[in-house]
């Protein structure tokens, strides 16, 4: 099962894609993904209900978040009430170590994204300050990466034994499905996604 793990809708301040448009685009372009995760910037979208869209388009639509830490941006999967109370999702100065620990403690998982990107990726911060304990999975394919960024992410994953996922980081409809993650088993819920991420039973894929 292939899921695009990193996408933004109009709920994000710089997102310009309606979720319904993502769904139509995936079918029109025959993009080989079976689901997507909406990871809105600095928030968890507790309001939107995409179940009708899921049924209409036979797609899994899950919700996570992308938060900002001292080591760059981080995807958070498995957001629940405990996790929402563990730290301020809207803050821009979170500690990566705190986010990783809180996610793990509350039944979720934190996944640093676009690690190879200057400033907002963790590679440069690792070089300066060393690795953070508890990181197990990082994004190694990102749809918005510039030349060399994914290569730096892959090198970091190899060096430290991290599992690697892929996500499009789509902000426009036409950007979805550039990168994704292929899971060995079917995923039907966020809980199953978190479990699969913790097991490492997946591989990152890129169609860029």
């Amino acid at each position: 099962m292939i899921i695009d793990l990193h996408n933004h809708s109009t709920k994000s301040d710089d997102g310009r894609a309606k979720v319904s448009s993502y769904c139509r685009w995936i079918h029109k372009r025959e993009i080989p993904i079976h689901g997507l995760v909406l990871t809105e910037h600095r928030q968890f979208d507790d309001e939107s209900d995409y179940r009708e869209l899921e049924d209409e388009h036979d797609l899994l639509i899950l919700k996570g978040s992308e938060v900002e830490t001292d080591y760059g941006h981080v995807l958070v999967f498995g957001v629940n009430e405990d996790l929402l109370n563990a730290f301020d999702f809207g803050a821009i100065d979170l500690k990566l170590a705190d986010v990783v620990q809180a996610a793990d403690r509350c039944g979720g998982i934190a996944v640093p994204c676009h690690p190879g990107r200057p400033t907002v990726g963790m590679v440069a911060h690792y070089e300066e300050r060393g690795p953070i304990e508890g990181v197990r999975v990082i994004e190694v394919y990102n749809g918005g990466s510039r030349a060399g960024e994914d290569e730096a992410s892959l090198a970091l994953a190899r060096e430290l034994g991290y599992y690697g996922v892929g996500g499009s980081d789509a902000h426009l409809v036409s950007q979805i499905g550039l990168c994704a993650t292929k899971f060995e088993r079917d995923i039907r819920s966020m809980e199953e996604l978190v479990m699969a991420l913790k097991e490492g039973s997946f591989e990152a894929v890129s169609w860029r």
């Binding site: 710089d14 310009r16 894609a17 309606k18 448009s21 139509r24 685009w25 029109k28 372009r29 918005g144 510039r146 030349a147 902000h171 426009l172 409809v173 036409s174 950007q175």
Partner: protein, 135 residues
């Protein structure tokens, strides 16, 4: 050639457009909109002193360029909304390319939504956005 709504499909791409962002073109634009004395738009050296890689294309010029691409594709259309996100500067005298693709068609309103991007020579997206256009 007038474009007809019924001939447009989801996924159709607008012809790629290479805008003139030479220093002389940008200076003309900057003067026309009242920012002709702003060095970061009209003077490479001044822009570098401000920490930029060179003079940069004003945001409203990028929007104008995208609007021009849409009108070249569909003369006479009505742009109802043009919404842009400026990700990174576009350097004056570089070779930028504008792209557009239809992502929604609304028969009742005879309108389409278009994803828009301006990329640099390396293919990196500098400006992204969307437009809603009545055909």
């Amino acid at each position: 050639m007038q474009r007809r709504f019924q001939d447009i499909e989801l996924g159709d791409e607008l012809p790629e457009y290479a805008p003139d962002i030479s220093l002389s073109a940008v200076r003309s634009f900057a003067e026309a909109v009242g920012v002709g004395r702003v060095g970061r738009f009209t003077d490479h050296e001044q822009a570098r002193r401000e920490g930029l890689p060179g003079a940069i294309v004003p945001g409203i010029m990028s929007q104008g360029i995208l609007a021009a691409m849409i009108h070249k594709w569909a003369p006479g259309c009505q742009i109802r909304k043009l919404d842009t996100v400026f990700r990174a500067p576009i350097v004056v005298d570089s070779q930028a390319r504008c792209r557009g693709v239809i992502t929604e068609t609304e028969p009742d309103a005879s309108s389409v939504d278009i994803d828009l991007t301006i990329v640099n020579e390396a293919g990196e997206t500098r400006v992204l956005g969307t437009a809603t256009v009545r055909i």
